[in-house]
């Protein structure tokens, strides 16, 4: 966890972003997708980044997830300065510290529900068989997919796929889980069920959940909501707390 020391108080954070900027080039034109964004996210929190399309939510999640690198600024994720990780180190870091939940579920179609959850343990972390089985079965029970474990992704519904994706993201015991528009392809009822699953997982495994959305009904489920507009952080709202920005 990132450490921030201020006035003799040491606080531990899952993510510390300090003036993080990200530029893209489209042809000869440089586009600033994020502009000097700074924030801290505490462990086991349930955080949402909201904002309209093009506000920089996905870019920010990609930076936190070590899928991309900031152009400027400093970004500490799980106590690691991710700016200096090379390709292989980034992959290894992601495999050991970060779980991903995608908008389109992104399950591997040739693997069953059980095998999809098993994949990161087997192919990324090389966890022994007994331990693998224990963790997968616990997660299958937790997301309510135990009876569907032998089905392939094309044999289950969208909500079920996302629950499998949550289990896959959590099976490696990551320090944080990143979910980019996790409910965008789900109806509201299923979306709330998925969010409930995520919260339940957070409570059970003390994992930090960071997700992006522009669905205001879903936003209400988050404990802390950061608002992004045109690549800038324009607000922070803690549930039951005061609104900043």
């Amino acid at each position: 966890m990132g450490l921030v020391v201020a006035e003799n108080i040491t606080k531990v954070y899952s993510v510390v972003a300090t003036k993080v900027s990200k530029d893209y080039t489209a042809g000869e034109i440089a586009i600033r997708a994020l502009n000097e964004v700074s924030f801290e996210i505490e462990p086991a929190s349930f955080v949402s980044f909201v904002g309209p399309s093009g506000s920089g939510k996905t870019t920010l999640l990609n930076l936190i997830g070590c899928l991309d690198k900031p152009t400027e600024g400093r970004l500490m994720v799980a106590d690691t300065d991710v700016l200096h990780l090379d390709r292989k180190q980034s992959a290894s870091f992601r495999g050991n510290n970060i779980g991903f939940i995608f908008q389109d579920f992104n399950l591997i179609p040739v693997l069953t529900v059980y095998e999809n959850i098993e994949y990161p343990l087997l192919m990324v972390q090389n966890v022994p068989g007994g331990e693998r089985k224990k963790r997968i079965n616990a997660l299958l029970e937790a997301v309510g997919m135990a009876d569907q474990k032998d089905k392939y992704p094309d044999q289950i519904s969208g909500g079920q796929k996302q629950r499998v994706a949550i289990a896959r993201a959590l099976v490696t015991n990551p320090k944080l889980v990143l979910a980019d528009e996790p409910t965008a392809n789900l109806d509201h009822k299923t979306a709330f069920l998925v969010l409930e699953s995520m919260k339940k997982m957070r409570n059970e495994f003390r994992t930090t959940f960071i997700f992006s959305t522009h669905d205001q009904k879903i936003v209400g489920e988050a404990e802390i909501v950061y608002t992004l507009e045109d690549g800038e952080l324009v607000g922070k709202q803690a549930k039951g707390g005061k609104k900043n920005g």
Binding site: L67, R94, I108, P109, P120
Partner: protein, 413 residues
């Protein structure tokens, strides 16, 4: 590794039609190569067998310089008795040697009292010659096959026909010895020899003692010694060994007495055999091209179709090396599938070819039955070629997949 295979096989099953088509292409390639190797190889081996087992022997030992003048059958380049005895002693001690046969080769006149023509003759010990070239009796189309008695002659078929000489007829052989004196001897025709392609394929045979008598040799002088080995596959190693053993035997001028030649140096058919090998090589090259293009095509498609999947597995922490392995294993599995199917189908077709008893002709020999055989080593080599090329063909797409930026791959539509 097992998991990589599991994922690879499931991905192959995912695109059944494409997998089937590509595997079929590899299978057809393997079948064609195996068929070509088995049929051409059997043809080649049969021909080599005909050459060595009915005429030449596996290798021959001559006096140094004899082979260069072999067309003249020079009597002055025969091995003297002492040199032959030394050679005989050495050959008797070699466990690889099954049999050997000394020959006196000479040219002479063949007369039926009505007509006269020239003839090339081999003076042999019939029992030793038949042990060295066991298929020789099979060439005797007419007459006694088992042996050749003193005073008897086996004549070439062409001579029998053109001069109307039949079994039991009396003929005269006239020859000039190395001193220049001429001598003649009557023989009874005991057999007519079917001609075969190559030098010596139209020679006559008489007993070695008759040859000595015609040539007025007081002491036997040998033109060549034909050697048959127990294991033909050890021909070259034994030839080298024998050359080594004989290289120490020097004449008064300090030069080697003997020269050793395998059948390859004695028969022009060796060039045909080499051509068959070259053709087999080019057929293998074609197989390589088929496998390379078909597997590479499929793997490029597989990578292109699975870009988002690659992005997903890369995002969740799969190392680039493992992504590379996944696609290489997929290409390997596809090649393996083609190899297994190709070998099985190839063997079935070879069995069918053999059951069909297809006949062919070689030179004047007709009705030779095609006996297609493929050596396990050939199957192994073909299989290895396909598998190695499958892996090589997968490398470029696999490398591309492993180098993909997960963020770009995840955005791919």
């Amino acid at each position: 590794m097992g998991n990589l295979f599991k994922i690879a096989i499931r991905n192959l099953r995912r695109y059944k039609r494409r997998t089937l088509l590509t595997a079929s292409l590899v299978t057809i390639g393997v079948v064609f190569v195996l068929l070509f190797i088995s049929i051409s190889g059997s043809f080649k081996n049969m021909m080599i067998g005909q050459m060595t087992d009915s005429m030449l022997g596996h290798l021959e030992v001559h006096r140094k310089g004899y082979l260069a003048s072999i067309d003249n059958l020079p009597l002055n380049l025969n091995l003297k008795m002492q040199a032959y005895k030394k050679l005989e002693g050495i050959l008797n001690q070699q466990p690889e040697v099954e049999a050997f046969s000394p020959r006196i080769k000479f040219g002479g006149m063949f007369s039926t009292f009505v007509e006269t023509t020239n003839i090339r003759l081999n003076g042999v010990y019939p029992d030793r010659e038949l042990k060295t070239v066991p298929l020789l009796p099979s060439r005797v189309t007419n007459g006694t096959k088992k042996t050749l008695e003193k005073g008897e002659i086996w004549i070439p078929e062409l001579m029998s026909k053109s001069m109307k000489v039949n079994i039991g007829d009396t003929v005269v052989i006239i020859a000039t010895n190395k001193d220049g004196s001429v001598n003649g001897k009557q023989f009874k025709v005991a057999g007519v020899l079917e001609s075969i392609t190559g030098p010596g394929g139209r020679d006559g045979y008489i007993h070695i003692e008759d040859a000595m008598e015609v040539l007025r040799m007081e002491e036997m002088e040998v033109s060549e010694v034909a050697v048959r080995l127990k294991d033909f596959s050890r021909l070259h190693s034994f030839s080298d060994k024998l050359e080594g053993l004989l290289s120490g035997e020097l004449n008064k001028q300090g030069k080697p007495i003997y020269e050793v030649h395998t059948w390859e140096k004695l028969s022009p058919f060796y060039n045909i055999a080499r051509m068959i090998d070259i053709m087999a090589f080019f057929i293998k090259l074609m197989l390589i091209a088929i496998v390379l293009t078909s597997i590479m095509n499929v793997m490029i498609m597989a990578v292109y179709e699975r870009i988002r999947e690659i992005g997903t597995i890369a995002a969740i922490g799969t190392l680039p090396g493992k992504i590379l392995s996944m696609f290489v294993v997929e290409g390997f599995s596809l090649g393996l599938l083609g190899v297994i199917a190709g070998n099985v189908l190839g063997m079935i077709i070879i069995v069918i070819v053999n059951l069909s008893k297809i006949t062919f002709s070689f030179g004047r020999q007709t009705g030779l039955i095609l006996s297609a055989k493929v050596a396990p080593m050939d199957m192994l080599v073909v299989s290895l070629i396909v598998i190695v090329i499958s892996v090589i063909a997968s490398l470029q797409p696999a490398f591309k997949a492993s180098r993909m930026e997960p963020i770009k791959a995840l955005r791919h539509v």
